[in-house]
Amino acid sequence: MPQFAALFRKDNQPVRYLVVDDSVFARKNIIKMVELFGGEVAGEAGDGLTAIAEFNRTKPDIVLMDITMPQMEGIEAVERIVRQHPDARIVMVSSVGYQENILAALQKGAKHFVQKPVKPEVLYEILRYVLSDDPTLAGGPAVLAGERRA
């Protein structure tokens, strides 16, 4: 597994992630990457409804959201979260990556899309991009692990 410079918030705290996927394995795999990037898991959810509740409870910096899930699918969950929290940063993570799906997610307020199986280097670059778009979070070049911003 490659090494990555840790990503931090501007207040020098680890970026907090909500990981949403109905597969326990997929969540573990994403969490492994998030921790590799110096992040912290704020919460986990296995469906869209739980994701909304967990978002309200944990107020994460980034949500990593699967699309196909029981009870409520990811795109609907994105719409509901963004309606309540317009500044929410949500990245879709799905094996189904055709254009209509991606467009639907972006139109509902998702910031980006990454296809499974997730390559750590791809997710890392997407997270850097999404974080740099938010003035309250780390922007510009990532800070190396152990060299947090002053």
Binding site: S23, A26, K28, N29, T68, S95, V96, G97
Partner: protein, 167 residues
Amino acid sequence: MRMDLIQPFINAADAVFAEALQGPTKIGDLAMEEEAYRRKGVAALIAIKGDIEGRIILDLAPDVAFKVAAILTGAEVVESEQVVRETVCELANMVIGNSVTLLNDQGYRFKVFPPEVHMNDEGLAGSHDTEALVLAIETSCGNIFLNIAMRHLARRRNERDAAPALA
């Protein structure tokens, strides 16, 4: 059977296994079968309905599933039936999702149903008069089998859209 419908599944499976299992893969023997499918291990069956109809079965032995699970999670797993189910479903979802993406971008429209896990000793009969392509993909964890039965029911959307309207 039209190979242009089958090929995206083979390509996606090969690419997904190589990436997810972090090792080389090799496509083994291919064969056509008309009889009910006899599982090699635990199977996930995913049905597809729309412009294309059929089903894909992904099948692997429990010991292979445990090795795959350890790689997917990055940790040793407690060997259980639940782990095998989760593993076969996760692999099937990734393969199908990537295949569907390729076919959808070619203009085919269809619905994919959630995977059904089969662990009993019964054969998995084809749902209609389709023959199935059976292949083994050799991975660092062991063989993973695919059984694909697919037929084309409608012209692709692009072809439909391009067709002149009747007066």
